[in-house]
C-alpha cells in the first residue's frame, strides 16, 4: 500500500500484478491478483450457496439468508418483467451476487497481513464492461429472438406524434445504445471513487501519526479516523447499492426486450 519514501499512493490498490505468467495464442492471459480475487469471489459465492443447500422444510439461518437473496432477485424480476421474468433469474442472480461479492471482497481487511492488499475487481473498467455487455447482450438476443425486426418498435414509443417521428427514434436509439456504457461506468466509477477516498483518508491517519509535531495526531489523525469509520460504512452501503442498481437496471432492460413498451 505504501509506495516509496513513505508516501501513500491511493491508486496503487488498482494496480494489476501478474502472479503467474500465462500465454495463450499470443495473448497475455497471466493469472493476476485480479484473477485471484475473481476466483476468491467465486469460492465465497459457492460456499455461501452451498451453505443454503440443505433443502430443509424449516430453514436454518444460513438457508434463510440464501433463500432471502434468491427470493429478492425472484421478486425483482417478477415485479418488473412479469411471470416470464423467471427465466432470467439465473442471469440476474449471477450478476447481482458476483458484483456484490466482488465489492465486499474489495472491502475485506486483508491489508493487516503485510504485503497483501484487497483488490476490487469491479473497480476495473474491463470487468464492468464485460458484465454490462452480458446484460446488454441478453437484452439484444432476447429482443430479436422474441420480436424479430419488430424489436425496433422499441424506438418508437406509443403516442409519438407523427411530426416528431424523425426525432424520437434517434433519441430512443441513443438512450438504448448508451445503456451498456452507463451500466459499466456507474459501477466502475462508484467503486474507484469510493476506494480512492478511503485510501486518502486512511493516509491522513497514518501520515498524521508519523508527523514530528505532537499536535498533528490529535488534530488530523483522530478526526480523520472517526470520519474513516463513517466513510467505510457508507462504502459498504455503496457496495450493496451498486450491485442492486446493476441488477435492477438489467431486469428493467430485460422487461423492455420481453414486453417492448
Amino acid at each position: 500500500m505504501a509506495g516509496e519514501s513513505g508516501k501513500i499512493d491511493p491508486m496503487y490498490q488498482f494496480k494489476i500484478e501478474p502472479l503467474a505468467q500465462l500465454n495463450l495464442a499470443g495473448y497475455d492471459v497471466s493469472f493476476t491478483n485480479s484473477s485471484l480475487f475473481m476466483v476468491l469471489v467465486l469460492g465465497a459465492l459457492w460456499v455461501f450457496m452451498a451453505g443454503g443447500m440443505k433443502r430443509e422444510m424449516v430453514p436454518g439461518r444460513w438457508q434463510m439468508a440464501v433463500e432471502g437473496v434468491t427470493g429478492f432477485i425472484n421478486n425483482m424480476l417478477t415485479a418488473n418483467v412479469g411471470p416470464e421474468g423467471k427465466k432470467y433469474v439465473p442471469l440476474v442472480f449471477s450478476l447481482f451476487m458476483f458484483i456484490l461479492m466482488a465489492n465486499f471482497m474489495g472491502m475485506m481487511p486483508f491489508g493487516i497481513v503485510p504485503g497483501v492488499h484487497p483488490f476490487t475487481i469491479t473497480s476495473h473498467l474491463t470487468v464492468t464492461a464485460v458484465l454490462a455487455l452480458f446484460s446488454f447482450g441478453t437484452v439484444l438476443v432476447v429482443g430479436f429472438w422474441r420480436h424479430g425486426l419488430h424489436f425496433f418498435s422499441l424506438f418508437v414509443p406509443h403516442g409519438t406524434p407523427w411530426w416528431l417521428l424523425w426525432l424520437i427514434p434517434v433519441i430512443e436509439l441513443f438512450s438504448f445504445m448508451i445503456r451498456p456504457f452507463s451500466l459499466a461506468l456507474r459501477l466502475f466509477v462508484a467503486m474507484t471513487a469510493g476506494h480512492i477516498m478511503m485510501k486518502v483518508l486512511a493516509g491522513f491517519v497514518i501520515n498524521g501519526l508519523n508527523a514530528e509535531a505532537a499536535w498533528v495526531p490529535m488534530i488530523v489523525s483522530f478526526p480523520a479516523f472517526v470520519l474513516m469509520i463513517g466513510i467505510t460504512l457508507l462504502e459498504l452501503l455503496v457496495c450493496a447499492i451498486q450491485a442492486y442498481v446493476f441488477a435492477l437496471l438489467t431486469s428493467l432492460y430485460i422487461n423492455d426486450a420481453v414486453n417492448l413498451h
Binding site: F14, L22, V29, L91, I121
Partner: protein, 164 residues
C-alpha cells in the same frame, strides 16, 4: 489510474479470467444451485398452501358438525318442552275435576245446612210469636186489668209483627 494505464496489457487476462469465473458462476451457481434453492422454496410454499387448505376444510367440517349438534339439541329441547306442557295441561285438568267434585259435595252440604237453618228460624219465629202474645196479654192485664184471650193477643201480635 492503473485501470486505464494498464488496459492494453491486462485486458486479455481480465477478459479471459472473467469469462471463466463468470461462466462458472452462471452455469454452476445460477443454473445448478439456484434452481434447487428455488425448488425448496416452492415446495415449502406449496406445503404451506396445502396445509392451509386442509385446515380450512377441517374447520368447515367442524362447523357442519357443530350446526347439526345444535339442531339436535334444539329438537330435543322442543320435545321436552312439549312433554312438559302436556303434563302441565293434564295436571290442570285433574285438578279442575277434583275441584268440581269437591264443589258439588260442599254445595250439597251447604244446601242441607241452609234448609236446617231456615227450619230452625221458622220454628224460632213461631215460638217467639207465642211468647210475645203471652207477654202482651200479661202486660194488658197488668196495665188495664182487662182480660185478653190468648187468641186476641196472638192476633194483635201477628198484626204488629207483620207491620213491623
Amino acid at each position: 489510474m492503473p485501470q486505464i494505464a494498464q488496459i492494453l496489457e491486462t485486458y486479455a487476462s481480465q477478459f479471459f479470467w472473467l469469462m471463466i469465473v463468470f461462466g462458472l458462476v452462471y452455469f454452476t451457481i445460477g443454473h445448478g444451485m439456484l434452481p434447487k434453492v428455488e425448488a425448496t422454496m416452492d415446495a415449502r410454499n406449496r406445503k404451506i398452501a396445502d396445509d392451509l387448505a386442509a385446515a380450512e376444510l377441517a374447520r368447515a367440517e367442524a362447523d357442519d358438525l357443530g350446526d347439526s349438534g345444535e339442531a339436535g339439541l334444539a329438537a330435543a329441547r322442543a320435545a321436552a318442552q312439549a312433554k312438559a306442557s302436556d303434563a302441565k295441561a293434564k295436571g290442570a285438568k285433574d285438578a279442575d275435576a277434583r275441584l268440581a267434585k269437591a264443589d258439588a259435595e260442599v254445595g250439597v252440604k251447604l244446601a242441607a245446612a241452609e234448609a236446617a237453618l231456615s227450619a230452625a228460624t221458622a220454628k224460632a219465629m213461631a215460638s217467639i210469636e207465642t211468647v210475645a202474645a203471652d207477654a202482651a196479654a200479661d202486660i194488658v192485664a197488668k196495665v188495664s186489668g182487662a182480660k185478653v184471650t190468648p187468641a186476641q193477643a196472638a192476633k194483635a201480635v201477628k198484626a204488629v209483627m207483620s207491620n213491623g
